[in-house]
Symmetry: C2
């Protein structure tokens, strides 16, 4: 029997879909991502299930929508009985490792209640969404709470970058015009070069760790989640990426039409990150750095591909490059993510299938079907030869789509959610923590955004691809609004909570009579 294909699941945090060359950015350089697309597939309509790190990642890892896994915002622990990728792939013979970020908060209360020691080997897996934490590093290490055990800091010190927290003082800081240390936490310093040679940057280091994992794993099939922290802030990057782009590479910010004013969006516009990133001089300084961070990730990803090639593992590996969400970068008067404009909710998704398993797919194509982050878990299970637990997973394997076996019955709608309970916007609007949900439902043409307690928004992506005009009030849209609302209703009613019994078990359930139980029998 042929060796099962490996799975290289690469995530770049906060990487906007349109900041990749093959996705049409005019000047960004991402030759390795572009090459992957030309060797594989580029999904141009891929969406995250929540435009925020934590819930989006939990959807990626569990194959379930945010409301189903329940970890609806950063820091919300995921129910200890939710299953992750590792739970599915490990029994199929895979080593399932993590290098980098997951943003998973463990369910300490649940573990206590269930008598599970979080330090035990089981407890560790349960604390890592089922991944073996080969190198867990969520990538944000402020001086006042950096772990003394942070491996990257130990690495930096070994290489001569001394101090309590070289992650901050070297890798995420620069030196300003006066020769003073300038923290990357502050946007004003984003133009400076990080004080670290690129070869010792976080991105380089994580790539090395990924190579270590693959090398160490040897012959066993593996699934590696290489989860880059960048291009997520702190926005600061090492040479040569620091000078690769200039303000000339910064496209004009997308400015919403005033008809697109909405109480919730407007409240987000008052957030500090929105106010700052909306300023032209800030964008012109930050975006070139953001682009440099993207190119840096691309560069090191290229090294990893090279390593796989040298080790004759490239052909037998499914490779996917994606992101947990995008980044507004000042478009629409917004910073960060959270909301549902395309720069925030659309994600890059480039996938190369293993060529050794007989799949005959046309390489280099772009797939415009609506793909969701929750599709990865079933795709991986299928490629690993497992049975997809359809009573738990809410996504679909992409493989039949790539095989051309699915045409128009694939998926008519995609859904993404936010819970802004933790954000200042909620307090500004005097909304209760339980009432801060937003749901996006989108088909290929239309996007409806439904706000708990506020009016919905509607965009026509065909006539208005940059989402300038909210057309919710246009009477001629009543029909499409109804259709999208009905899809959302059906979706809400169809979430999978009966996770302990499979459909097959129901189909083959034993008749009560054969168990000696009679009812309604004369």
């Amino acid at each position: 029997m042929a060796k099962k294909p490996n799975i290289l699941f690469v995530m770049a945090d906060q990487l906007r879909a349109d900041f990749i060359g093959v996705n049409g950015h005019p000047t960004i350089m991402t030759p390795n991502f572009d090459k992957l697309a030309s060797d594989g597939y580029n999904f141009s309509n891929a969406y995250c299930q929540a435009p925020v790190c934590g819930p989006s990642r939990m959807s990626f890892y569990t194959g379930r929508y945010a409301r189903s896994h329940g970890a609806v915002y950063n820091g919300v622990p995921i129910n200890v009985n939710e299953q992750g990728l590792g739970n599915y792939l490990r029994p199929l013979g895979y080593r399932v490792g993590l290098v980098g970020k997951t943003h998973m908060a463990k369910d300490i209360e649940g573990m206590r209640r269930l008598g599970i020691d979080s330090e035990s080997s089981l407890g560790v897996l349960l604390s890592q969404c089922g991944f073996e934490p080969y190198e867990r590093d969520d990538g944000l290490h402020p001086d006042n709470r950096v772990s003394p055990d942070l491996a990257y800091n130990a690495y930096l010190r070994e290489h001569g970058f001394a101090g309590e927290n070289p992650w901050h003082s070297w890798a995420n800081s620069g030196v300003d015009e006066n020769g003073e240390l300038a923290s990357g936490w502050f946007l004003r310093n984003s133009h400076l070069a990080a004080r670290i040679p690129d070869e010792h940057s976080e991105t380089a280091y994580m790539t090395n760790r990924a190579i270590d994992f693959i090398r160490e794993t040897g012959e066993q099939p593996w699934c590696l989640h290489l989860s880059y922290i960048k291009p997520h802030w702190p926005y600061i990057v090492s040479e040569p990426f620091n000078t690769m782009y200039t303000s000339d590479d910064v496209r004009e910010a997308v400015k919403s039409d005033e008809r697109s004013s909405h109480p919730v969006v407007d409240a987000f516009r008052q957030h500090e990150e929105s106010v700052e990133l909306s300023k032209d001089h800030v964008r012109k300084q930050v975006i070139p750095t953001y682009m440099g961070l993207v190119s840096q990730v691309d560069f090191h990803f290229g090294r990893l591909i090279e390593f796989l090639e040298k080790n004759q593992q490239l052909d037998n590996t499914l490779i996917v490059v994606t992101a947990d969400h995008g980044d507004y970068l000042g478009d629409y008067g917004l910073g960060e993510k959270d909301l549902f404009h395309e720069p925030s909710v659309r994600i890059p998704m480039i996938m190369k299938m293993p060529t050794s398993d007989g799949l005959t797919v046309a390489a280099g194509s772009t797939c415009e079907d609506l793909v969701e982050s929750i599709d990865l878990v079933p795709t991986f299970i299928e490629i690993a030869g497992g049975q997809i637990p359809t009573h738990i997973l809410e996504g679909r394997s992409i493989i039949p789509l790539l095989e051309g076996k699915i045409t128009n019955e694939w998926r008519n709608f995609t859904f993404s959610e936010t819970d802004y309970a933790y954000r200042p916007a909620r307090k500004m609007l005097k909304v209760l923590p339980s009432d801060a949900k937003i749901l996006m439902v989108r088909n290929k043409r239309w996007k409806l955004i439904m706000y708990q307690g506020f009016e919905s928004q509607l965009y026509d992506l065909e006539s208005d691809p940059t989402e300038l005009y909210d057309v919710i009030k246009d009477p001629q849209n009543e029909k499409i609004i109804k259709e999208l609302e009905e899809a959302a209703f059906e979706w809400a009613l169809s979430r999978k909570s009966r996770t302990t019994v499979s459909d097959e078990q129901i189909e083959t359930a034993i008749n009560p009579k054969s168990r000696g139980i009679y009812f309604g029998v004369w």
Copy 2:
């Protein structure tokens, strides 16, 4: 400090709300339930969250809708990380015991995955919805799979009722005209007297065990779930209850108007229990027995009240009598339950508050507000002096309602669900196991029943209290249909899955900046 009030949570399985004297049945004798109502409150619009044992009970015990706890049908294991009544009351100093049925299926797969030994003391609690299983007995013990350890069988043998399975051969069988053993599993035998004196019946025995539990518990505050198996089938009852009612006590069956034909309901009408229970001679034989079983439960419940009174515990105990669902008993051409006519989905709910804690409520009133089974957990937590975890529980404490503190903002809609994946009706209709959901949304006047994949039904309970005419197609009802659908949509979107973080924790969440994390700061 005064002793915390005890909680006596009595459930009678499959007890129709209208088969209680105080609820208007013309001839049934339930003096003890009636007395409880005159000393307390009678909720005339109480609804179960699922008109089937398992999911309804899991809603009673977890305080959450069926789609939230996920155990949507009998035998579907409940996620091991769902919390039950015991989890909430035990930390408040209560002994939380079970006598009788829960219909809980434990999450063996989840326990295995989480390394929990189901035989350990924790495992046992997790297998019993958080109840200490003082005497767990689900009440159905066919000869071919009766447990050799069934305590009630040991009891029967001790009292001279010999055999492999005296539960069946004595307590749930009669002797027919030819002197042959006649099993209570078959409706044709329901007129016979059970071969057991009433004092050794299941209902008597469970009551005795409840008394044992209370006596044994002594001074500690307790919550006892006394969960009677009867009047659930096998429909057979001991003397004198066997002859208490005759066919004269059987009201005419409610016959649906043909305009109320519906594919799903019609498929249920083809079930054997529907066909049989629709026959007049069957109803005339079964219903008097059913009534006898109800009076038997009432009688023994009266003994328990007497015991509490003698032991000076009556005043300090919250007592509630309810049921998991009703019983069609041939009305609408249906047997059993599962669907949403009032005889199936409405439940009795009679509650007497502890009189020692200073509540000033007018005794003997009937409360017409919409009350749900999930309201009991928060009510019990409040009476026990605990904090209601509103991020997990989906019901509301009834206490403010009884205190007159809540008027019209109580609850406008009630919801109940069925998943008929396991039922023959689904296969008849060629529906997939994942597509067999039904949702009822009801306000005080209207009831909308929404079927996955089929048209909805609408009943006007004001003009048509017996639900004869489905008025979904009446154009003048468009507005109310829209209103009910919107309520259902809002409800579906508002289910509570963020159960690991409370609203209070969110309100007091620490600002990222104070943790040294800066984003969007120039």
